[in-house]
Amino acid sequence: MAEARDGSLHRRMQNHFELFGFEPAYALDPERLERTYRDIQAKVHPDRFARAGDAERRASMQWTTRVNEAYRTLRNPLLRARYLLELNGVQAALETNTSMPPGFLMLQMEQREGLELAAAERDAGALHRMRAALRIEKRGLEDALAEQLDARRDYGAAAELVRKLMFLEKLDAEIDAAFETIEG
């Protein structure tokens, strides 16, 4: 491990959408995103500059780092929505003052109890079913996000959907952990 020489990663002010030639919007064509990502990587990746001078190698690493971060954000629906809200001045994760709807919280508690039970009984089938249900629930929230962010531009409503989606992501990670526990 060494000391890096240059930390000026935020030199380029272009946002993630502009970087890939997209209008800032929640809905985007994943295939076009992937193609564009690969086209840019093909130009900037360090493997293209293994014989270049230090200056070009550094520029290559900064660019690749930047492109990887943008791609990671845009390809993931939750991160993309959060980022879009940030561009519009809304910090979805910080606004915890808005309490979540009681019905949603109740459902969350039930799901967690189900998860604990499945883990305790080492019931992989139940975990698979929970995951399948979670996928459907997530997709529903993502469709609603597209509606609030792109059609209505209601960022307050979108922020609440993002917070719900964050709960579901956490549950998803807990299902992973439960799988790991029962698989030993």
Partner: protein, 622 residues
């Protein structure tokens, strides 16, 4: 239509000759070196035509070192000075080494990376690995007829930062310019994918002598994208041998035996294990130094029983990798088997049951990694005229984080992030006027620092005096294309760059590397000077070529004044390259590098813009 260049007889029409580049598979049991000749990747054998180099190093009193078969011949009669499977010690501390109690070595009691006391003095795993790499470098240079421009060296995908850095340091000690550290399963995927023009999602199951990796890759239109990787950097064929040794000791009702006999039983156990790949049972016979005679028969059934839990240990990481990739078994189009230990029938069976398909065994599992590394080395050295042929997108195998209050880990870069990647984290002071701050970088998935690998402790100094909580120190973790971490820190409110002192937990400091370099040249000071001059010339010429070609292809991106300055520094570098002062060459190269920084950034921007413009036009056509 351009005019063809016709060269005089005896002159080359090629602007620069083929650069000699190799791929090196630095394995636990065996190592190999390969290169691309006339477009085909080939293993470079030794003078006797043997492709493998046993990764065994024997130290004799004085300066004599034996490597490979010569050392192998003495592994049982001189176990203390004959180091096998040194890869398992790379970047590892004493408490990390499995069955250390059975080990014949004389370990030195030091914190940090293990050290071995040998007939030739105290040696670190980095120095021992460097001996293996030196032999491969000499073999390649003799066979290719010139100095190496560089090498791609493979590492297990699941190697952590300390293990990777140790490998790179070993290459430096061996006088090798590392073009890239490449993950072994990714190297195998290149060789496999290019050979078979493969498209789709594939798993590479790589069980070597001492390490296990599972990588899930998406291959499409010349891009090798690693979706997830997992593994166990202390699980391999050696562990199966160890199980057989334990079984033999029990079956033969032997009392505790001497190190040399343990070594002998290991050799016999490996032979029996290998025989079981094609036979239903195998003899295990050995005459111990005590005169006792071991005469056993190992059946496939017994071998499967005693090694069952090891086979199971490969499946946990496999499930995790699939889950991290967000895929199911049915999404995998094929499973490529890599590493000598993947030949074991029980491994083949477990993989085919898990993936519900027959694994792919059509490439030699011992050679495929070196061949893939050679192909990548050829591209990185610039020998492939159409360099845009393929692109590797690899990931970091383990999360990186810092220690926070209460011994907990705050994750900064999650595992399976595509590299290069960077993430920043803000820290603040808790005392008025506090000018220094220290933190601890760790790697791993667990929540407690004590369950993760300690990488290094950092101390930031030079924070401007401020009230408690007012300083905003931004610490950036940057992981490069080799998967190596670098850390920078900046105080944001004043813009002051804090200086960082790094203390690696299981690595060698720069001073230690320098000392080892000096030691290795102790008996040939001229040799060290010559090496330094050679290296500075190679780097300097590479830079001069790159800048010259950049000016040629993007003349519009520099002002007349900038161009004049760059030309002046280029001429200065050229003048120094003609001389013999390696420090002067380095200084001239550094100056040119600094002067071309803006130009390089502009070229990169322009290149991205062109890529995007091409895309938009393509969209209009579609």
């Amino acid at each position: 239509m351009a005019l063809l260049q016709i060269s005089e007889p005896g002159q080359s029409a090629v602007p620069h000759q083929q650069r000699l580049a190799v791929g090196i598979d630095l394995g636990t049991t065996n190592s190999l070196v390969a290169t691309v000749r006339s477009g085909v990747a080939t293993i470079l054998p030794d003078e006797q035509g043997r492709p493998l180099l046993p990764s065994i190093v024997r130290y004799l009193p004085g300066v004599k070192v034996e490597v490979g078969y010569a050392a192998q011949a003495h592994q049982s009669d001189d176990p203390r000075n004959t180091v096998v499977s040194v890869k398992r010690f790379m970047g590892r501390g004493r408490k990390d080494v499995a069955y250390i109690e059975n080990s014949p070595y004389d370990f030195v009691d030091t914190p940090g990376m293990v050290q071995l006391c040998t007939a030739a003095g105290v040696k670190s795993p980095v120095e021992i690995s460097a001996e293996i790499l030196k032999v491969l470098r000499v073999r390649a240079e003799a066979s290719l007829g010139g100095d190496l421009a560089g090498a791609v060296i493979t590492v297990p995908a699941y190697f952590d930062d300390a293990q990777r850095q140790a490998t790179k340091d070993a290459a430096t000690l061996a006088g090798i310019n590392v073009l890239r550290l490449l993950n072994e399963p990714t190297a195998a995927a290149i060789a496999y994918g290019l050979e078979n023009a493969t498209e789709g999602v594939y798993a590479v199951f790589d069980l070597g002598g001492g390490t296990f990796d599972i990588s899930i890759l998406k291959l499409s239109r010349g891009v090798f994208e690693v979706l997830a990787t997992n593994g166990d950097s202390a699980l391999g064929g050696d562990d199966f041998d160890h199980r057989v040794v334990c079984w033999a000791l029990e079956e033969a009702r032997l009392p505790p035996v001497q190190p040399r006999d343990i070594r002998l039983l290991h050799i016999k156990a490996r032979e029996a294990k290998e025989a079981l790949t094609t036979h239903g049972e195998a003899p295990l016979t050995a005459r111990l130094s005590t005169g006792e005679f071991v005469d056993l028969t190992l059946t496939t059934e017994a071998f499967c029983r005693i090694s069952q839990h090891l086979v199971q240990k490969t499946l946990g990481p496999t499930r995790k990798a699939l889950r991290d990739a967000g895929l199911e078994v049915g999404d995998i189009k094929g499973v490529v088997m890599v590493g000598g230990a993947s030949r074991m029938p029980q491994i083949q069976r477990a993989v085919s049951e898990f993936f519900r398909r027959d694994p792919l065994n059509n490439l030699d599992p011992d050679k495929v990694v070196a061949l893939g590394a050679a192909m990548q080395a050829n591209v990185l050295a610039g020998n492939q005229p159409t360099a845009g042929d393929w692109l590797l997108l690899d990931v970091i195998p383990l999360s990186l984080g810092v220690e926070t209050m209460g011994g907990l880990v705050e994750r900064i870069i999650p595992r399976n992030s595509t590299i290069p990647t960077a993430r920043a984290q803000e820290f603040t002071t808790f005392k008025d006027g506090q000018s220094a701050m220290s933190f601890h970088a760790v790697q791993g998935e667990r929540e407690l620092v004590s369950d993760c690998r300690s990488l290094a402790r950092f101390e930031l100094r030079g924070i401007p005096p401020m009230a408690a909580g007012a300083a905003r120190v931004l610490v950036t973790f940057q992981v490069d294309a080799d998967g190596l971490l670098a850390v920078t820190a900046q105080e944001k409110s004043t813009g002051a760059e804090a200086s960082i002192a790094v203390k690696p937990s299981y690595g060698l400091g720069d001073a230690e590397i320098e000392r080892m370099l000096r030691d290795s040249y102790e008996h040939a000071r001229d040799d060290m000077q010559a090496r330094a001059l050679h290296e500075s010339r190679v780097d300097g010429e590479r830079l001069a070529d790159a800048v010259r070609s950049a000016l040629g292809s993007d003349p519009g991106l520099v002002s007349a004044a900038e161009r004049a300055e760059i030309e002046r520094l280029l001429a200065a570098l050229r003048a120094n390259l003609a001389g013999t002062d390696h420090r002067a060459i380095r200084q001239a190269a550094d100056a040119l590098n600094r002067a071309t920084e803006e130009f390089a950034a502009r070229r990169m921007d322009a290149s991205v813009r062109r890529a995007l413009a091409g895309r938009n036009i393509a969209n209009l056509d579609a």
